[in-house]
Symmetry: C2
Subunit: 132 residues, 2 copies
């Protein structure tokens, strides 16, 4: 396996997702960056972070610039695309394929600010118009 279409990339695991989160925030990062952001303060070993990132690279989830001694990693998949991926997986597996059921649960149980509610309402209006 040398290359892989983006659509084929495996779903990130728990630990991989946390690492992607750091890379999305920073744009890019070394193993040390990730280790300090995620593992250092709770005793996680440096090589644990390293190994995970090597695995992620093998899977194609991250790309690596090894022109520096400390290799620089960058996420291959965008945050939005990954969020969408997780979302539709969950709609299928947990909400019987009904996204609006999920939305109702999410709105009902979690808190949203007034601005967020406004934003949701605007999207709702647009959807309403489009579905005419």
């Amino acid at each position: 396996m040398t290359t892989r279409r983006v659509a084929d990339l495996p779903k990130p695991t728990e630990a991989e997702l946390a690492i992607l989160g750091v890379l999305w925030d920073r744009g890019s990062g070394t193993v040390r960056d990730v280790h300090e952001a995620l593992y250092a303060h709770e005793g996680g070993g440096y090589t644990t972070a390293l190994k995970l990132m090597q695995v992620m690279h093998a899977k194609g989830l991250v790309e690596r610039d090894d022109s520096q001694r400390a290799h620089v990693f960058r996420a291959v998949v965008s945050k939005e695309r990954t969020q969408k991926r997780f979302l539709s997986d969950m709609v299928d597996r947990v909400f019987d394929g009904s996204a609006s059921q999920l939305v109702l649960h999410a709105l009902g149980s979690q808190s949203a600010s007034r601005e967020e509610l406004k934003e949701i309402r605007q999207l709702l209006n647009r959807l309403d118009r489009e579905s005419k």
Copy 2:
């Protein structure tokens, strides 16, 4: 481990969730019921379903009536509670804790019927009123 508070129940795995889905639909079911609903048509073995349900029973996810020769299983956790659980896990892990970000993604990428949109709007109105 003999008993366990509901709140402590482990998050169902992929396969466990599918089995819970059958039990939620039917109210209860035997291993054979579950096997036929999920595994039979794709060549999955009977003992695979059995083992999974034994594991689920050991974890406390299902209860078992063994007064009949074919034990009858029933979900311990409700569908709604489980949906909520998965939802908030995902909000934390994938959407940086923002439920409304998740809602926006879900509304944007998935389809919803007009009735569903209406229902969402009503909930939105109520939330808006309450946040005053």
